[in-house]
């Protein structure tokens, strides 16, 4: 009897928060393009006697993500130590959450995908960054601790995906939500969103007794390719009647497939225990409810809202991904809710007007101005001015007698002809120049 093979995929996503300070100390959390080892202190260098203190905002941020993904918020949680030796981990342990993560048992639903269980979302500290180098024939690892202690969210899903398309759709949604909540830039190329997939292929209804971890993949595209080629590789092995080894593999673009990564020899033995330096955290139900009430609208809710204001679906989808742009559009609307938001959204997307005019007021002023100029050619303007002057000889006479405010009257006549087009300032100036 031939059994139907079924891919089983689960995800681990690491999301680096964009807080101002690190998770357990006041060092700046920014580390991208910062001179190495300039954002450190005794806490994040793991010096003896230094004591951690938790960043309140980082805790709030993870709760928001958990609420946005329908998780159960654990009102009592704590931090734990996860022990291992590696040069990027100065204390010899990482502060993370083991038994009592902030968020668990969430669920993500999408129209064209099976629903995904969010097993847990926990908070931890990022490690330092290693650079591997050979100097004078000697293999060295250089350590930069600027990233050490940056607040990191780890999200773990159930083994609920069967295709790379489902994986990508879910991850894109997570990125959208995270950016929308304003808790991370989620830039994959800067490492602020990191992806891992556990892939196996089941020959029965049950979960297989092994999994292959795909690690160190830094784009959605590569992850999809890695997942697809890994499913193909495992399927082939199953057809050949071979056993699939539990291992970690990386994606190799040149090889067009996954390659085994030599991992540390020792079995995982992290010897977790409660972090004695950080008191536990007890949240009140009112606080959590308050957070939930003030949660920003979900990306899809926001897209619908923008669309109801006339913004094209396409522009809305792009703007929603960027909180600064979205806020800009909201600001424009709050200044003038009669403005043509569709055009403004298009200008933001296509012409980056939000970067050109930092203040939305300036953008609105320039649009009022340029709308006229653009729609009225210089030639047309000259023609209307000529006509107005010929048709109103008395006005020209008055101007020569010193009644310069007659220009306003002429401008009115001009606007009648141009149907309101033309920059009033410029037209007035042209009348002045012609009459004086």
């Amino acid at each position: 009897m031939k059994t139907k093979l079924r891919p089983v995929i689960g995800l681990e996503v690491h999301i680096e928060q964009n807080t101002k300070t690190k998770m357990f100390c006041g060092c700046p959390a920014i580390h991208y393009a910062v001179p190495a080892n300039t954002h450190t202190c005794p806490v994040c260098l793991g010096l003896p006697g230094a004591l951690p203190k938790a960043n309140k905002l980082a805790v709030e941020n993870i709760l928001k993500l958990g609420l946005a993904l329908g998780c159960k918020i654990n009102l009592y949680s704590k931090f734990d130590r996860k022990h291992y030796f590696y040069p990027d981990l100065p204390k010899g342990y990482q502060i993370t959450q083991y038994e009592a993560p902030f968020c668990s048992a969430g669920r993500w639903e999408a129209p064209d995908s099976p629903s995904v269980n969010i097993t847990r979302i926990h908070l931890e500290e990022d490690t330092g960054k290693l650079i591997h180098k050979t100097v004078g024939g000697q293999k060295l690892s250089l350590v930069d601790f600027n990233r050490s202690g940056v607040p990191l969210i780890e999200l773990v899903t159930g083994p609920d995906f069967e295709t790379s398309e489902q994986v990508t759709a879910f991850l894109k949604e997570i990125r959208k939500i995270v950016r929308h909540l304003g808790i991370s830039t989620a830039d994959m190329d800067k490492g602020s969103m990191r992806l891992e997939a556990n892939v196996s292929v089941s020959t029965t209804k049950k979960l297989p007794d092994y999994k292959v971890e795909l690690k160190n993949i830094n784009s959605f595209k590569f992850l999809a390719k890695a997942v697809d080629s890994e499913i193909a590789r495992q399927t082939k092995l199953i057809h050949e009647g071979k056993r699939i080894a539990q291992e970690t593999r990386g994606f190799d673009e040149a090889a067009g497939g996954t390659l085994s990564q030599r991992t540390k020899e020792e079995a995982k033995d992290y010897r977790y225990f409660p972090e004695p330096d950080l008191p536990p955290i007890r949240l009140s139900q009112e606080y959590v409810t308050g957070l939930k009430t003030n949660l920003p609208k979900s990306p899809s809710e926001t897209i619908h809202e923008l669309a109801s204001w006339g913004v094209s679906w396409q522009a809305a989808t792009i703007i929603v991904k960027d909180r600064a742009r979205l806020n800009y559009l909201y600001d424009v609307r709050s200044i003038d809710n009669s403005v043509d938001l569709k055009s403004i959204a298009n200008l933001i997307v296509n012409k980056n007007v939000d970067k050109k005019y930092k203040d939305p007021n300036d953008l609105l002023a320039s649009i009022v101005k340029s709308a006229g100029n653009l729609s009225l050619e210089a030639k047309q303007m000259t023609k209307f001015i000529n006509e107005v002057l010929i048709e109103n000889p008395k006005a020209a006479e008055d101007f020569r007698l010193g009644k310069t405010n007659v220009v306003g009257f002429l401008l009115g006549k001009f606007m009648q002809k141009s149907a309101g087009r033309g920059d009033p300032k410029e037209v007035s100036k042209r009348f002045f120049d012609r009459l004086k």
């Binding site: 807080t19 300070t21 938790a54 591997h132 060295l140 930069d144 950080l278």
Partner: protein, 98 residues
């Protein structure tokens, strides 16, 4: 009787990044076993009505605001105790074998 096997001791040594000689393995096998024997003695106490805890202060919810950053260590100060460093980095033996 020793509670720990030699391979237990070697495993713990590996996790602690210690290279032990075989006399040392034997020494620690008995010493660490004694520690566990003492734990057995503690385990005879009745703790049914004692709640487990990992904290002794009774504190909860100790937080720091995210509004301002602290001054950081100057780089030469930060690396001063490192056994090896260059002008920018802490330097260690290469962790990649390849």
């Amino acid at each position: 009787m020793a509670k720990l096997t030699k391979s237990d001791v070697l495993h713990v040594a590996k996790l602690s990044k210690l290279d032990l000689t075989s006399p040392e393995v034997e020494k620690f096998q008995s010493q660490l076993s004694e520690v566990l024997n003492y734990m057995d003695e503690l385990n005879t106490l009745d703790t049914d009505r004692v709640l487990p805890t990992s904290q002794s202060t009774g504190l909860e919810n100790v937080f720091r605001g995210d509004d301002h950053t602290n001054d950081c260590l100057a780089r030469d100060i930060a690396t001063t105790n490192a056994s090896r460093s260059d002008s920018s980095y802490f330097v260690t033996k290469g962790v990649l074998k390849k």
